[in-house]
């Protein structure tokens, strides 16, 4: 897999550390009942996923990579702070 890092250009996957689904929403209050879901539960899609990737072997920025989990096709990558989470349906 080749990842198009916005800072470094196209780089091989072994330079990156992956941290799973980027669409999980961290609750804002301690009373929120969704903490369990945020920490443990995942959509785990077979198909397109937006996932956190840390460019540990490069610019050391957190990215969000869009990828297909069936084919490993990579669609693109953005800096994590610019990523817009999917709104909960």
């Amino acid at each position: 897999m080749l990842i198009p890092c916005p800072h470094c250009g196209t780089r091989p996957a072994e330079e990156f550390t992956f941290l799973g689904d980027a669409n999980v929403q961290r609750p804002t209050s301690l009373e929120d009942p969704n903490w369990n879901s945020y920490v443990y539960e995942r959509d785990n899609p077979r198909g397109k996923i937006d996932e956190f990737a840390y460019h540990s072997g490069g610019c050391r920025a957190w990215l969000v990579v869009s990828r297909d989990t069936k084919t490993h096709e990579v669609f693109g990558a953005v800096i994590a702070k610019n990523f817009k989470r999917k709104q909960k349906s």
Partner: protein
């Protein structure tokens, strides 16, 4: 037909032309009492024990592909019960005991070979941790021996004992651990279940789960609609997908794990050995090929194939442990889809949907658990209460804070 030396003699006299298929290929019925989703090792074992131990009839196993096409035919065939936690080890020891009697029980040669599983340690701290785990195993009635360096050297003189960074200091040996012919496990359970009336429906993919008032009433499949009273999910790496058909979201991510076989060699490695300084495990198949593997690739995947960086990583670790491996040629590699749970331990539980049961989250340690997983899942489905060695494998343990975290690493889906 019962397989025995007499059936073999009889069929050899007739030129092996009269063997019958080991299981039927029936048409789906309109309704079953119990439908098991997933014809892998765990699903077939569940069907087998439901029929044999609980005397239940009218059971179907749905398999979207063919028997043995999933992880049961894609693993490194290792069996062991060298866990530490009380919620885990009695379960894995039940599995080991079932392995020990399996071939007689289901009348099929699964080539169960208790050739010993040796975990190498490379630091004093690691040896202390092994002593602790070995003691925990012995409290649970499991065999464990802590070996010093010379005892390991006697077993495997060709390992790298003088490695400057990771010298081998000893190892933890479970002599009753070993390997099993993985395909034969699927075939044996499939045949045993079929003989007791279970319908094994190959090429039958689950496409939807039908519920009514919070209760399962049936399924849609690629071979039509089938009604059922109880539905038991057992879909390994595809658990999240099938559970989402009933509106459930699981504490699971699917990852790819690769494994490898070398060219055939003369007898070289007697038992199963695991490297303690990297993630690498190796044994030698009865055909002579070295069977080895390492860690998951580290990203979500349903692709049944991995990438080259992990191939390089695994082989580096192997050569660090056994320098002479550098001259061995790898023959094949493959990948399987692993249901990585958030604490590295499995789930065998009821769900919030009435009549819907879940068996998932085996990470990449599911093969060794096959008999006990089937045994305990069958118990849960038949009696609606967990088996006594599987009470810790609850789906809600994450919310309650009772994780079974064998490594003590917290909530990440990369444990096993």
């Amino acid at each position: 037909m019962k397989y025995s030396v007499f059936s073999l003699l009889k069929n050899s006299l007739s030129g092996h032309k009269n063997w019958t298929p080991a299981w039927r290929s029936p048409e789906p019925k309109k309704e079953y009492d119990i439908i098991i989703v997933g014809g892998g090792g765990h699903g077939l074992a569940t069907a087998y024990y439901l029929a044999k131990e609980h005397g239940l009839k009218n059971i179907a196993v749905l398999e979207k592909n063919y028997i043995g096409s999933g992880n049961v035919g894609r693993n490194t065939t290792i069996i062991r019960s060298n866990y530490m936690l009380l919620g885990n080890n009695p379960f894995y020891e039940l599995s080991m005991k079932l392995w020990e009697g399996l071939e007689q029980d289901f009348n099929f040669n699964a080539m169960v070979s208790q050739r010993g599983v040796l975990n190498l340690c490379h630091t004093d701290a690691q040896r202390d941790a092994f002593a602790r785990r070995g003691n925990a195993m012995r409290i649970d009635g499991v065999d464990a021996e802590l070996l010093d360096r010379e005892a390991v050297r006697e077993m495997y003189p060709f390992f790298d004992y003088e490695n400057a960074r990771f010298p081998i200091k000893g190892g933890l040996l479970q002599r009753r651990g070993g390997t099993v012919r993985h395909d034969a496990v699927a075939w044996g359970y499939a045949r045993g279940a079929d003989l007791r009336g279970v319908d094994i429906l190959q090429g039958c993919e689950l496409t939807d789960i039908q519920t009514e008032n919070g209760k399962v009433i049936g399924v849609q499949t690629s071979r039509g609609e089938i009604k059922c009273k109880k539905l038991a999910l057992c879909a390994a790496g595809h658990s999240s997908e099938v559970a989402s058909m009933a509106g459930l979201k699981l504490p699971i991510e699917s990852h790819v794990l690769q494994a490898f076989v070398s060219e055939g060699l003369k007898p070289y490695i007697d038992g199963v050995v695991t490297f303690g300084a990297g993630h690498f495990y190796v044994s030698q198949s009865d055909k002579g090929g070295l069977v080895f593997g390492g860690d998951i690739d580290g990203y979500n995947s349903y692709a049944q194939r991995g990438n080259l960086p992990m191939v390089e990583h695994v082989i580096e670790a192997g050569v660090a442990m056994i320098p002479s491996l550098a001259r061995v040629r790898a023959l094949r590699s493959w990948g399987g889809v692993m249901d990585m749970s958030m604490d590295g331990s499995p789930i065998i539980d009821k769900t919030s949907v009435h009549g819907l049961y879940l068996n998932a989250g085996w990470c990449y340690g599911g093969f060794k658990a096959t008999p006990a997983s089937g045994w305990c899942y069958a118990h849960l489905i038949a009696k609606d209460e967990p088996h006594k060695v599987a009470t810790a494998f609850r789906l809600d343990r994450f919310r309650r804070g009772y994780m079974l975290d064998e490594k003590g690493q917290g909530a990440t889906p990369n444990l096993h």
